[in-house]
Each structure stands twice: as structure tokens, then as C-alpha cells.
């Protein structure tokens, strides 16, 4: 898919995703080694966006499995269409049982769910397994077979093996420790907060109307907030939101008043806002 690490960066950048060197290298390796990519990091740094960007670059279909507590085999893998099977049975009254049985367990009555969808077919696909940590431990067991051999076993049909391996991205917020077995099968990528220069480029890309100097001060203030010990530090998503807010407010430079009025956009807890205000000397007005 990609020829070099730089190729990854440039092509991802074309879709509007500015990748740090770590991200570009790992994506390149995931493609080369044919291994799934496990992405961890705080909320709002673009974990899901990465999968979308890769899909766009590769011209692949994005198949998404959103995990939640209680997601199970029939939601993740496949399910038999019971209603249709019943209809089929009652429609063919005169048939022998053997004919019916082989017929109702055929492809026609199978409802593929994301994991099976990603494996079947020849077209390129990107499989995104989002918020893997939210799923129960049992689902991880299910993923093991899919991720190591790229095959799914349906007892009535046999084993479906991927003709073309999908590019797999798993994301996790680390609210639960994923099992060692799953981690071993993946390349691990931690997306942290971008460095100042990269974040400035991201802000300029997403909010092009913002002036260069304002973008710079926005990024610096956010960087300072991240160094504080807050309950929820602002993420890239919040930086962009803030930049948009400032634009909407018509501010062309940062000053105490503007920052204090709009601090709620980047900080989501009252204690955090108070603490940040104290540290940034906002009360010195």
C-alpha cells in the first residue's frame, strides 16, 4: 500500500490527517508486516480519525465495529437470519429435512457482522474496532482468531479465510487493561498529544481562517494547560474547538478577558477552570 514512511505522511496529509513520525512509521509497518494496529491514547487525539484517513488513502471500504459492554458474537461476527429461515422451512413443506437443512444454513441466510464482512470479499478494506476496551473479555477471545489468522469459523459453513487481509485498527482508551494475548498480536502505537509545531499545523489546517500568531498563542496556552495537573487535560479536539470559538468571537489576539470567557471550551470541569485561571493569572485584571 505504501512505499516508505514519508509516503505514508504525505498521503495521509493529503486527506487532512497530519501524522507525527511515530504514527507514520507504525502505519507503514502495520501495512508491511500485515499486523493489526492497536492504538491507545487520550480521548480526542485522532485515533478513530487515523483509521478513516488510512481507508481514504487506500481507497478501501471502512468496516467499523463499535464495541460496548455486552457486545457479543452475534453483533461482532455473524448471525443466522432466523425469521427468514423459518419462512424458508414453512415454504418448502414437501421437501425432505435433509434438503431443507442444507439449504437454510447457506450464505443466503447468513447475516454478516463487521468482523466477517471485513474478511470476506476481494476489495480492500480497513477494519476499525473502536473502543476495544469497552467490550467484555470474552470478545477479546473472539478477536484472537480473527486477528492472528484472519479467518472466521462458521460451524455450518466451514472456515472463511480472508482472500485479502484487511488493514486492522483497534482503538482503546485504556479504561481496562487489554489482555496480553491480544496485545501480542498487534503493533502497539500510543498517540499522545502532538508537539507544538505539529499541533500548530493541525490548527492551521482545520481552522484556516485563524491568523498565524493567534494559532501560535492558542497552542502555547493549551501546552501550558497540559503541563498542569488537571482532571481532564485538553486534547487536540479541544484545541481545534477553541480555535473555532476564538474565530467566532472575532478575537485577533489572546487577552485575559477572552481567555476567561472561553476557558469552558477547553476545560470541562469547574475545578480545572478555577485552577487554570489561578495559574494563568486571569484574576489579575
Amino acid at each position: 500500500m505504501f512505499t516508505s514512511v514519508d509516503d505514508v505522511s504525505t498521503r495521509l496529509a493529503e486527506t487532512g490527517y497530519l501524522a507525527s513520525p511515530a504514527v507514520a512509521t507504525t502505519v507503514f509497518l502495520a501495512d508491511r508486516l500485515g499486523k493489526p494496529l492497536l492504538v491507545e491514547g487520550p480521548a480526542g487525539v485522532g485515533k478513530t480519525e487515523l483509521a478513516k484517513a488510512v481507508a481514504e488513502v487506500a481507497g478501501a471500504r471502512l468496516v467499523r465495529l463499535q464495541c460496548y459492554e455486552g457486545v457479543d458474537e452475534s453483533r461482532a461476527l455473524y448471525e443466522w437470519n432466523h425469521a427468514k429461515q423459518l419462512l424458508r422451512i414453512s415454504a418448502g413443506r414437501d421437501e425432505s429435512w435433509d434438503d431443507t437443512r442444507t439449504d437454510i444454513f447457506s450464505e443466503e441466510f447468513l447475516l454478516p457482522r463487521p468482523l466477517l464482512t471485513a474478511i470476506r470479499g476481494d476489495d480492500p478494506k480497513v477494519l476499525l474496532i473502536d473502543e476495544t476496551d469497552k467490550a467484555d473479555v470474552e470478545v477479546e477471545g473472539l478477536l484472537l482468531e480473527v486477528l492472528s489468522d484472519f479467518q472466521v469459523t462458521v460451524p455450518e459453513l466451514g472456515t472463511v479465510t480472508a482472500a485479502r487481509r484487511p488493514f486492522v485498527v483497534l482503538t482503546s482508551n485504556a479504561s481496562r487493561e487489554l489482555s496480553e494475548a491480544l496485545r501480542r498480536r498487534c503493533l502497539f502505537l500510543h498517540i499522545g498529544f502532538p508537539d507544538e509545531e505539529l499541533e500548530r499545523r493541525i490548527v492551521r489546517l482545520k481552522v484556516p481562517a485563524l491568523t498565524e500568531t493567534l494559532a501560535e498563542s492558542v497552542v502555547r496556552v493549551v501546552g501550558a494547560l497540559r503541563a498542569m495537573d488537571l482532571r481532564k487535560v485538553p486534547s487536540v479536539a479541544e484545541t481545534i474547538d477553541w480555535a473555532r470559538t476564538l474565530l467566532a468571537l472575532g478575537a485577533d489576539t489572546l487577552d485575559e478577558q477572552v481567555v476567561r470567557d472561553s476557558l469552558g471550551v477547553i476545560l470541562k470541569h469547574q475545578d480545572d477552570i478555577q485552577k487554570a485561571a489561578a495559574k494563568l493569572d486571569l484574576d489579575a485584571l
Binding site: V5, P21, A174, S175
Partner: protein, 461 residues
Amino acid sequence: MSAPAGPLADLADRLTGLVGALRAHGVRVGTGETVDAARAVEALGLAEREPLREGLAATLLHGTGQRAVFDQVFDLYFPRGVGGPGDGSGDGSGDRDELRERLADALADDDTALLRQLAAQAVDGFGGYGSSPGSDGWSSYQTLDRLRPQTLLARVRADIRARGGNGAGFADRLLDDEIRRRIEAFRGMVAAEARRRVAERRGRDEIARRAVAPSADRVDFLFAGRDQLTELRRAVQPLARKLATRLAARRRRAARGTIDLRRTLRGSLSTGGVPMRPVLRRRRPVRPELVLLCDVSGSVSGFSDFTMLLVQALHDQFSKVRVFAFVNRIDEVTGLLEHGRADPEGLGARIRAEATLTGWHGSSDYGMALGEFAERYGAAVGPRTTVFVLGDARTNNLDPNLAAVRRVAGQARRVYWLNPEQRSLWGTGDSAAPDYAELVEMHECRTARQLSGLIARLLPV
């Protein structure tokens, strides 16, 4: 099968050496990952160093906690260069001021490449000690002590202000912190460079095992530095979240419970004595209560602070959490801790300032404090309460007051003692640990990793 040619064999050695060093630091790397790492090296090539670092990290690591250790080890096995800095080749040993000058400029520009080069020169010029081979080496401490980069703050600030022109901007007030961070980064570079030079002298494998700082959750509480404690405090929230899910899972499993034989048999009467439907014992949905007794005297305060914060972060898992602190007198600090969430760093100082913890003298006295607890706060401990005592059980040769411990243990559901000292040191000197261990369950708890394991296992559900 013939052995691969020279440089490739060396590369394989280097890779396995790196993996060995990582394993020695508790990173679990399997053979499969090593092979993957080799394939990654093949795909990436050796032309550039940073992609190589990221590639190896992606294949060998499984979590973020291991990254700091990995970076240090990587710098040793895949060094930026060999020997001293190329250009000046160490002629600058006398020019401390000149080097400081250039350092200030580089800090003002935030020029990472130049800073790294200066770090190399600094170690070369000021870090060497000893003369006979075998006893000589390179010291980052000595380098930084001579160079004093922290004193450059004011100069760099003035430089940037003068250069920027429009220094009146809002973000300008952040300048000090930014410069401090740059200086801190420079100190890190010096340390890495010194390690590299020493490794050249003494052999990589040994230095990689000894001189690389362990990851924060494996640092001994009693020897942790200020930075490491800060890092630990940052880890409290995520750790608490993880423990909470683990506790919830245990609770769910426990709720499925055991079979209630009496009610099952009773129900089986309607089916002719055949127990068709097993009845599970119903659990009373009470949340357990927790009492924490923390020694906050100087010797173990890092450990106590961390544990208090962790338990506080877990408070919604319990119906009641009460925290008591003592040195030689005991006082309740539950209220202080609630505010402590906003400012964990000042917690220890605030507890010592606002609670009555000492009388007569300032050293810890377990007997007195435990006796006072049993007397004044005896009502806090009931049959639903689990008590944790945190401390090293060093009583300064005073009476350990085993009767008080016995009394608390009799009232409580369980009593656990978490001791931040190494087990082999229990009972040495003034430690009364073996005496207490006879009465209550005592566990060694030296690192955050051990602590989280113990908490997950011992906390009542």
C-alpha cells in the same frame, strides 16, 4: 545454514541484547515480537534513527508505561554516534562560559538538534572523572553541576523577549514554564549522553541493566525521587479507574454466588424432590467500609500519600472511607483528602500542617498512635470494616502496643498491613514488623505495581 555476514550478525546481536535488557526491566517480550522487530528493521532500513526507534517500540512494547525504559535502552543499543563529539573534540574543557553562552542561545531558539550536540560537548568537557582505566567514567551529575543550566532561565527569557519584539502577548506569561521544560529536556539529554559514554567504556549490557531508570510503577516507594513521585501521582486516576473495573468484575462474579442448599431443597419439593432449579444464595448489597491508618512520618510519606490518593480515588466503590494519619498521635484526615484531589502535590504538607500528628517529639511511635486510635476512634471499626495499616512498623524502640492491634483486629472484618520495606529487612533494627505480622496479615508493598496488585486482591467486594 551459514551464519549471516558481519554487520547483519552484529545487528541481530544488538537486537537480542536490546530485548534482553528490556526483559531485565520487566518488559515482557516474546520471541515472536523479537522476530517482528527484526522484520521491522528490515522494512525500515537503518538509514534513519527515529523511524527505527518508533518501529522497534511498536513491535516490542505493549503499553505506554514501558516507553520511558525503552527509550533509554534504545539510546544505548542504537547510539546516535560513537566516541566524543566530532567537531571540537573536547577542546572546550576550559570554556565553561562559552558553552553556557551557546546553550542559552540554543534554549532561546528551542533548537533540539543543537541542544543535543551541546549536551554531548558538555559531557565530553565537564563530565569525565577518574584517570586510570577501570575507575574512570562520565557523570551527568558532575556535568550539570558545573554547567548549571537552571541558572540560565533569566538570560534566556530576556533573550526571547528582546528578540520577539511583540513580547506583550498573552501567551508570554507562559514563557518561564516553557523555558523550564526546555532546560529539563536538556538535562535529560545530558544524562542520556553520559550513559552512552559510560556504556562504551563498560559494556552495553551491564549499563542497560543497571543505569536505566525503571518505569515509575516499579520504583521503590522509599527511594523514589520527587519527579518519580509526581509521575506516580499522575498515575493515580488511571490506576484507580482500572482497579474500579476490576473490582466491579469481581463483584459481578461474586454476585452469581454459591448455591443456597436449603432453599434449593425446599424448592425441589414441588418437583418431587428433584432439584430442578438451583437457588443461588442472595448477597446482601452492602458496600464495604474501609479504614486506612497511614504513617505519614518522613521515612514513608511517599508511600502513604500515594496510597491515600489511590483509595480516595476509589471512594465511590465503598459506602464509607475514613482515613487516619499518624506520626505518634493519630488524627482523621478524610476531609483534607477530599480537597486533596485538586492539589495532590500539597497533600502531605497540608496533612502535616493541619492535623495533630505529633506530641512531645517528632518521630513515629506506632504503639502510641495505634493505642490512641483504638481508644478514640474505636467506633469507626465495625464488623463490615476492612482496615489497612500503611507503614514500615519502625517504632523507634518504643512499645509496639500489640494489645491495641489485637483489639482493632477483633472488631474489624479484616486487617491488612502494607509494609513498604523489603521483607528481608523486617525485624531488623527497631522494626516491630514480625510482632505485628503475627497478629495481622502483613504484605510487602514496595512499588506501585505491587500496590495495585494487592489492592485488587485484598479490597473487599
